[in-house]
Symmetry: C2
Subunit: 549 residues, 2 copies
């Protein structure tokens, strides 16, 4: 059977654009003689609409878009993803569904059984799980149509104290009682650099276990924080990947399900290259889907803002990025020259505003109240916040969106000033540990020196007091990042981390810093997610909790 796989970039709630894009690819599939064209999960409305799913106008718009798409399906069958209404008088009011359209009619609606509700996923909030299993007969074939998580029944639970399997039902096991000859899975599976092999292994296991060919259709593109990476696949009944589609870009391909020998795979890339592409797509789609054009940021001469500037230029074009240099009396000469050199390398507009006169005016105003008290973090924060006001003024006046440049290590331990350098509409590096920011910078320089070498090689400093170094207040990033990874991504307890050979005091101090800075992270911009555990709504911690450390 000839099936077209449409791996597209959707926009939540943009029914006009989504349905036009779907219909264009239905036409293309027809032109290329496909019998069936498959689109990804919730493709009609975009994944994930969150509480828009509770609103009448959203569901009505979805239905209108479905009607348009159904009309386009003459001479071809199609599978699209959309929420559909649960007509029962009990249970959540919606299903997360796959619509099988044939002869300009919705012939069958298949509902998702396993509703991911962990990390960034929140599907049981809106959807009723499916309990009835039906295959689809089409052109002499019997299709087992599944939706994303439905193939992840062996998924381990999301906790660190005792692992087992998260779900009690196996949708594919149920469907296979009806002897299908092809598995189709429509998905919304986001990118995480540390889960690379997991997705393929899961899909391959399913195909091999049931000895059936498997068509996997993922989406691509970023929806605020969440970056979908594509990589749709066709897998043989032996569990071999026969076709693998592009990553981080739209793709369209016709596969022949009877031919499981031709191999067409993507070139393997190192994780850092994928992170780089993911972040670039994340920035690009945020701007495009929000209707923004241009970005700004403060260029400090440090590595974080340098990497963000490069990503912004790659995503938006150098003509759409303008930066501000805001030296203080503690800024070293090289900070300014390094920043200027970077701006010139990138061909972006830059301007310089020394902040000292403003800081002086704050300190003068506060003097009667502070009354000779010694300088402390207050004065450091005033500098960071003065810069925050200046870049926001630029943003307000010219409509450039401020990109936040904090990295994951800083966000984790609260090494940053709320309403200062933590400002921004989008956090570009908030899920990238400092050691990976260095790796990213080196990767960006792999062909030519885009980021001046001195920015990469000098020791990190916030430059908020004389001769300050990050290492004055934080453990070395190499150690810190390992502890943080165990504590945050792996949910290890401090005792377990200490048992793994890390210094007890450093572990406890690090965990304490992470815990006591939940309040700061509560107020930060959405963070582009590239790992399996990013800060944001995928990691919800109570603020008033006692953390017992």
């Amino acid at each position: 059977m000839k099936i077209a796989i449409a791996q597209l970039n959707y926009h939540i709630g943009n029914f006009y654009q989504n349905s036009e894009r779907i219909i264009t690819h239905i036409e293309r599939a027809k032109a290329e003689d496909a019998e069936l064209v498959v689109f990804s999960e919730l493709s009609v409305c975009g994944y994930y609409p969150h509480d828009l799913l509770e609103r009448k106008e959203f569901i009505e718009n979805t239905q209108r878009a479905i009607n348009k798409i159904v009309k386009a399906c003459s001479g071809i069958a199609a599978i699209v993803g959309a929420p559909t209404i649960n007509e029962s008088q009990r249970g959540k009011k919606l299903f997360n569904s796959a619509l099988f359209i044939e002869n300009q009619t919705v012939q069958k609606i298949i509902h998702k059984t396993l509703l991911p509700t962990y990390d960034i996923f929140d599907e049981y909030r809106h959807f009723e799980p499916n309990k009835v299993f039906e295959t689809i007969d089409f052109n002499g074939h019997t299709l087992a149509l599944t939706i994303c998580e439905d193939l992840w029944d062996n998924q381990p639970t999301n906790n660190s104290f005792a692992k087992s399997k998260m779900y009690i039902t196996s949708p594919l096991e149920e469907l296979c009682k009806q002897n299908p000859d092809l598995i189709i899975n429509i998905a919304a599976s986001p990118f995480s650099f540390d889960q690379e092999g997991n997705r393929k292994a899961t899909l391959q296991r399913n195909a091999a276990e049931y000895q059936l060919p498997l068509v996997y259709v993922n989406q691509v593109g970023a929806q605020t924080e969440i970056i979908f990476d594509g990589g749709s696949m066709f897998i043989s009944p032996k569990g071999e990947i026969v076709q693998e589609m592009s990553y981080f870009e739209e793709d369209f391909r016709i596969i022949d399900t009877d031919n499981t020998s031709t191999k067409s795979l993507q070139t393997r890339e190192p994780a850092i290259a994928k992170i780089n592409r993911a972040l670039e797509l994340g920035v690009k789609d945020y701007f495009e889907k929000m209707g923004f054009k241009s970005a700004t940021l403060g260029l400090s001469g440090g590595i974080d803002s340098a990497v963000v500037a490069v990503l912004a230029v790659r995503a938006l074009g150098s003509e759409n990025v303008r930066v501000l240099l805001m030296p203080s009396k503690y800024s070293s000469d090289h900070s300014i020259t390094d920043a200027v050199k970077l701006a010139k390398n990138l061909g972006i507009e830059y301007q310089t505003i020394p902040i000292q006169p403003i800081v002086d005016s704050f300190e003068k105003a506060l003097n009667p109240i502070f009354d000779g008290l010694p300088a402390d973090v207050t004065e450091e924060n005033i500098q960071a916040r003065t810069r925050g006001v200046l870049v926001m003024a630029l943003s307000n006046k010219f409509g450039n969106i401020l990109l936040n440049t904090s990295n994951k290590s800083e966000c984790a331990v609260g090494y940053g000033t709320l309403y200062g350098d933590m400002n921004g509409g989008l956090s570009v590096l908030g899920d990238v540990y400092k050691t990976d920011v260095f790796e990213l910078a080196r990767y960006m320089n792999r062909n030519e020196e885009v980021i001046p070498e001195n920015i990469i090689s000098k020791p990190p400093s916030a430059e908020l007091r004389p001769d300050q170094k990050d290492s004055d207040s934080l453990p070395d990033y190499a150690i810190l990042d390992e502890i943080l990874y165990r504590y945050i991504e792996q949910n290890q307890s401090p005792d377990e981390i200490i048992a793994a050979g890390y210094d007890a005091e450093t572990v406890k101090r690090t965990a304490r810093m992470v815990n006591m800075n939940e309040y700061k992270r509560f107020q930060t911009a959405p963070v582009l997610r590239i790992s399996s555990k990013a800060f944001g709504f995928g990691r919800k911690m109570p603020l008033v909790a006692k953390y017992n450390l």
Copy 2:
């Protein structure tokens, strides 16, 4: 049967304090000859621990606290709430459980069946739903032990397009097949002023339908945003409330389940009085549970900051509140005199810092870049952000926590400056519409003029440009708040609101303002929740969505 109801205030993760408090009340119940003492849902660890439930140390600490509590149960039985491990190899790894303890042993563990996963509730994220129903035999009685939502099987779905019942199972129907003679429900049911009657009606319906007495044990106290109001009850088999415990404070009472005639009810209060108490408790518990002592805020002479100042003083004491007056060249004389008068009425420390010199230094620094461009919202934001930096400096230097003073109407339409007046550790009024802020102010003045009358009677103004009034950019609050209530609380579509008789342009403009300001609310402080739909994690909207208005 003599049952003690312990309506206590727990602290998430504070196992030492929670278990001490539970044991103290076990002793008290023993001393008062109760046969059984009942504590509320997840009382051992506090409700709701969110992703702490995924961590090993949290579950281990819970188990240790349970062991301590079990030992205390000699000569009395007790029911406490705690997460327990799902020993099955499939399904989420935890249950939300009620432990029935007798003879210093956990005799039975009952799991929650209906896991609320909507609005602020997120229980399916961590818990496996119960599927087995068992009553408990105790002292000649048969108890139907249920957990909170288990009695809410008739709860309507949380959407506006077609209502039906949210759940497909009725735990009480199942349990009643075993002929219990008493229903016990341990709860974590938060306060919402607009859902007042709903809770009582639900409990009364259950008692009457199954013709059984019902003991309802709720908790009290705030956990960051969520305010639990107590109001535990004993209801007769006819559905009459026999005993009703205190609201917004701890309470302890012995009831005799055989005596369903003595009435002991709470005095009815108007909604505004309850909102006032809820907010006071919210502020108090936030500080107590975070380990903070003192608060600060900017006193503008307007009504929002005045009401927050009063609440702060009531919650923390006048000696723990200090305020900053930060007049600009646009501040009217009465703003300053009104603010001073209020500070004096409240007996709080106040200081004044005119912001003009700082604003001038910002404008001078930006002048070369702005290059003669006309003044716009940029310059207004610089004033608000200058104030933001000043109060945060005070906060950093003296350890006072900044209280945010934005009201729900402003938050809804984005009438506020991010990193300026939207700063703060806790949003006190973010769930109170402007019209209700006025009502709250009048309520606070019911016995004497705490808030100077002029603050209440003058037209609201941000005072960021000459003669500015809120009504220049916003519809009248009376109209605005009604439209917002329909759009936000009731999830009505703009078409429905227009059909209800509101001006089409005003409705569309309002909805558009709400939608385009999701990005601002994403970055705001936790909001004390007093309604059925507050901003924050109970209303998750996608940022990059297209809203079609």
